[in-house]
């Protein structure tokens, strides 16, 4: 599975009900994600980003995912 799809699946799995858009910024291992998730409600940015980062941690730890730019939001 391409890393883009893999990352999307991992985040959606960790944050049920989230809307996840993953964009390849270059080389397939520098990704940008926009995550809108009900779980972010009431959380600070650090906690929101932690949830996303932890969801893909196995891919970051292996170096497979080199860089992940994260933008989070709460659904309207």
């Amino acid at each position: 599975m391409a890393l883009v799809d893999d990352v999307k699946t991992l985040i959606e799995g960790a944050l049920p009900g989230s809307a996840v858009e993953v964009i390849d910024e270059g080389g397939g291992d520098h990704l940008r994600v926009q995550v809108t998730a009900p779980q972010f409600e009431g959380l600070g940015l650090i906690e929101q980003h932690r949830l996303v980062k932890n969801a893909v941690r196995e891919r970051s730890d292996t170096g497979e995912l080199h860089s992940l730019t994260i933008k989070t939001s709460v659904p309207d």
Partner: protein, 134 residues
């Protein structure tokens, strides 16, 4: 588990430096785009900050910051002993004005691309980058 000696050193650095950036490379020569983004934001405030190059001991430092702050990617900005975030959060807080509050200062200027060079020219005595020995 993280190396306890290294963890002690890192905790001391976080305690002793009001504004501390863990980064890949140095402010003069960032080794990663995200580290460069964090440096660019910090330099636009014209404040003094300490920078630690994580590259010589990246994996051990990952383990240490994972234990201290549950954060294992770099850059990481700490202000007054607290993790503020990585490059994305630093930029987002900069744009919202919250970073100015966290830093207790105003942005000097909406940074032109050359701000970093100007800053260096005006502050030649800027403290040298730190390295950590294992």
């Amino acid at each position: 588990m993280a190396d306890p000696n290294l963890k002690d050193k890192v905790e001391e650095l976080i305690r002793d430096n009001q504004v501390l950036l863990f980064m890949k490379g140095t402010p003069e020569s960032p080794a990663c785009g995200n580290s460069m983004r964090a440096v660019n934001v910090l330099e636009s405030y014209g404040i003094e900050y300490a920078a630690l190059d994580v590259l010589p001991a990246m994996q051990p430092l990952r383990e240490v910051t994972g234990e201290i702050a549950d954060w294992t990617t770099f850059p990481q900005l700490y202000v007054n002993g607290q993790l503020v975030g990585g490059a994305d959060i630093v930029e987002e807080l900069d744009e919202s004005g919250e970073l100015a509050e966290v830093l207790g200062t105003e942005r000097s200027e909406p940074a032109p691309p050359s701000a970093k060079e100007q800053f260096k020219a005006e502050n030649p005595q800027q403290s040298p980058p730190m390295q950590i020995e294992r």
